[in-house]
Symmetry: C2
Subunit: 198 residues, 2 copies
């Protein structure tokens, strides 16, 4: 039995979303057959209009619906520290932890040779300008602990040397509440390397 075209088309569209395989796309598509027309239009519009009001903060590269993002506009934050992340979502994650009160700079990606993401496609040029103009004293590099994130971090650390400021990297180590049994060997060796007195 051939699958209906409208269903097939929707399944293929949904399968592009992260974490959605062929099977879940099928399940979603069939479930949507039971949605009301209003619900389908609301979901459809939310997708279509997603990027219409969202753009990048001209200062830090974070996503915003205004000219400058909320954090850049906030005068109560520490102006001395700049934390560099790869993706806008990382800013939300760090803000949720409530442990950082400085400024951010969002690269919009990480070096990735396989995907052809190089220097020119990242929000890096303005970084050096900001460090000078805003008299930044410390740069915390918080790219992901992956090959791409590490490469990006090393590149940044290298090019930031001439500025004579503190350049730091988030610590590697055990996850709080985790279990030693489940820690991979590389993380364990990093945790041992970074051990400190208690």
């Amino acid at each position: 039995m051939e699958k209906l075209q409208s269903l097939q088309r929707l399944e293929e569209a949904l399968a592009r979303l992260p974490g959605v395989g062929k099977k879940s796309a099928e399940r979603m598509a069939y479930a949507m057959l039971n949605f009301s027309d209003e619900d389908l239009i609301e979901i459809s519009d939310a997708i279509r209009e997603l990027k219409q009001n969202i753009h990048f903060c001209k200062k830090c590269g974070m996503i915003t619906e205004e000219d400058e993002c909320e954090i850049c506009k906030d005068t109560s934050r520490d102006d001395d520290t700049l934390l560099i992340v790869s993706y806008p979502k990382d800013v939300i994650t760090i803000e949720k932890s409530g442990t950082y009160n400085g400024r951010y700079h969002v690269l919009g990606g990480e070096f990735n040779i396989a995907k052809g993401i190089g220097l020119e496609s990242l929000n890096i040029a303005s970084l050096y300008k900001r460090i000078e103009e805003e008299h930044i004293k410390e740069v915390v590099i918080a790219t992901n602990p992956t090959v791409e994130g590490e490469t990006t971090a090393h590149y940044l650390a290298k090019t930031l040397e001439p500025y004579h400021i503190n350049v730091t990297r988030l610590a590697y180590g055990l996850q709080m509440g985790g279990n030693l049994d489940y820690v991979d060997p590389l993380t364990l060796s990093k945790a041992l390397e970074g051990r400190h007195k208690i």
Copy 2:
């Protein structure tokens, strides 16, 4: 930090899909920020137009893009047997197994008091008409082995008594390739009840 309105709206829309929780909706929404405008429009359109061409087969209740569904139109199938399922997707599942060659009747749901799904919202009236007009000899009830599916099955079996035809139900039992360790007690007792000579 407040979440952007466009993102928030999309996350809420996506969270209505089956199997999509708050966390995955968030992940999907952020991923979609990196989609091209064309891709977003394609997904949006696929959702919006899903039900425009799909309706129910006037004969069996299966979804179709034509007047009558593929199976009802197929003259090579066995006209004596009618298999009753709750949802259109169940037809696809049974067709995939390749073990049934009769006709189908799709109820479009199951009795569910909690959700207010009663007799009138199911495709039942036409069932009795079909049994008479098409001279059906056997009805196989293949609703789900859940409380709702069982209630529906019992109701159907009861109301089909006056027709003096064979009314059967799919067998309960062990799953092929499964392990006895993982079988729930109810299924096990049903499997024992339905034991047969080898």
